[in-house]
């Protein structure tokens, strides 16, 4: 069944609520741009940001990728969300307070927003998605409260920090 108007309003409100945190992560990534296939500082920031979410994490062998699997409360198909992480050999000239600290390298293609945005999407799933109840069941902190007996496929409404209501 497709998401309805209330579902979408909740996702929108939740994204706005977490914007300061996601923007702060973006700024941290922007300061340490790396090019190519090996991005150790960027990878470390991603791993640190994902750590509280309790995902199944694997890292690449031939490149410094991160794959994070978030399981819902039921078996079934999976989808893939992707964010690219690398920067460009450009000397930043923006005057941003969070400008690159790596001379000759810059997130000039906005991949810092892609990485932060993908972490943000994972956080939204962890708070509001079907995996939230599963995560709590295993002792994690899932943000908006809820009931472990909630039927699968349902998730709390009300956005970040609210008590939420169950479908």
């Amino acid at each position: 069944m497709p998401l309805d108007h209330a579902d979408l309003a909740d996702l929108r409100a939740d994204a706005r609520a977490q914007l300061p945190d996601v923007a702060a992560l973006r700024h941290a990534l922007h300061r340490v741009p790396e090019t190519g296939l090996h991005l150790p500082r960027t990878q470390a920031l991603v791993l640190e940001a994902l750590e509280p979410l309790g995902l199944e994490i694997t890292t690449g062998t031939g490149l410094s990728s991160v794959v994070a699997v978030l399981r819902g409360g039921r078996t079934g198909p999976a989808v893939l969300l992707r964010g690219d992480m690398d920067a460009l050999p450009v000397t930043e000239d923006t005057g941003e307070p969070f400008s690159s600290e790596h001379p000759g390298t810059m997130h000039a293609c906005g991949h810092d927003l892609h990485v932060a945005g993908l972490v943000g999407a994972a956080q939204q799933h962890r708070r509001a998605g079907p995996a939230a109840a599963e995560h709590r069941h295993h002792g994690g902190q899932a943000g908006a409260g809820g009931d472990l007996q909630a039927p699968r496929g349902c998730w709390p409404r009300g956005g970040t920090g609210s008590p939420g209501r169950w479908c």
Partner: protein, 269 residues
Amino acid sequence: MFQPGEEGDHGARLMIEEGVLDAAGDRVVAAYGLHVLSALLPTGLLTSRPGTMLAAADTVHITVHGRGGHGSMPHLAQDPVPVAAEIVLALQAMVTRQFDVFDPVVVTVGRIDAGTTDNVIPATARIEATVRSFSEAVHGVVPERLARVAEGVAAAHGLTATVDYRRGYPVTTNDPEEVDRAARLVGGMFGERAWWPSPQPLAGAEDFSYVLQEVPGVYVGVGATLADRDPRTAPYNHSAQARFEDGALAVGPALLAALALDRLGFAAA
């Protein structure tokens, strides 16, 4: 999928080879990716289109092999310079005469190099070009036709040409149903006017195309022009002055989350 090496290093292909599409157990049923734009689109606007979204981008290096000599007696040499010049023009004729204007090819010779001084005929001349195409059908036949032109022009003058064709990223192709899904979700979250159905592809290229060759999905452009800038004149991606609006981060994550939940049927019934 947190991926290094998009800017030319085929990072997405490497991650596919390392198993990202099956990381959850079974092959994923859909894939979604976004790209922010520091110009063209104001923050709050999103865009995509069914079918071709981005070009394929290849590189070709052509070397014309002649025989060097004295500039005063070209008949005793095999001058590669006029042959290289003729190849450059013949490639432009190829583009317009051998390809459908509605399924086009862009060939831009960005570098041409030969010789050392005015009165010495060099032994070789080199041409480097970028080749953009917008369907896999055309992407597939360009290398052969381009080589035919280069080798044929050289042969017409008694010289030879070698063609080193390097395939870059394939065409980025969106699944029409997934484009409809994105448009519906964006409309529901941010209003129908937040969705701009792009009338044409962008000529950039992207290695998320490798993922979209394997599973259906959609690639969405996300406006991230600073609020006080004109999208028509703001510095675009790759510029040293490119700045991106943090506010776009209130849009992208919500869309990614919504796409996943909607595709997997996790609506709050």
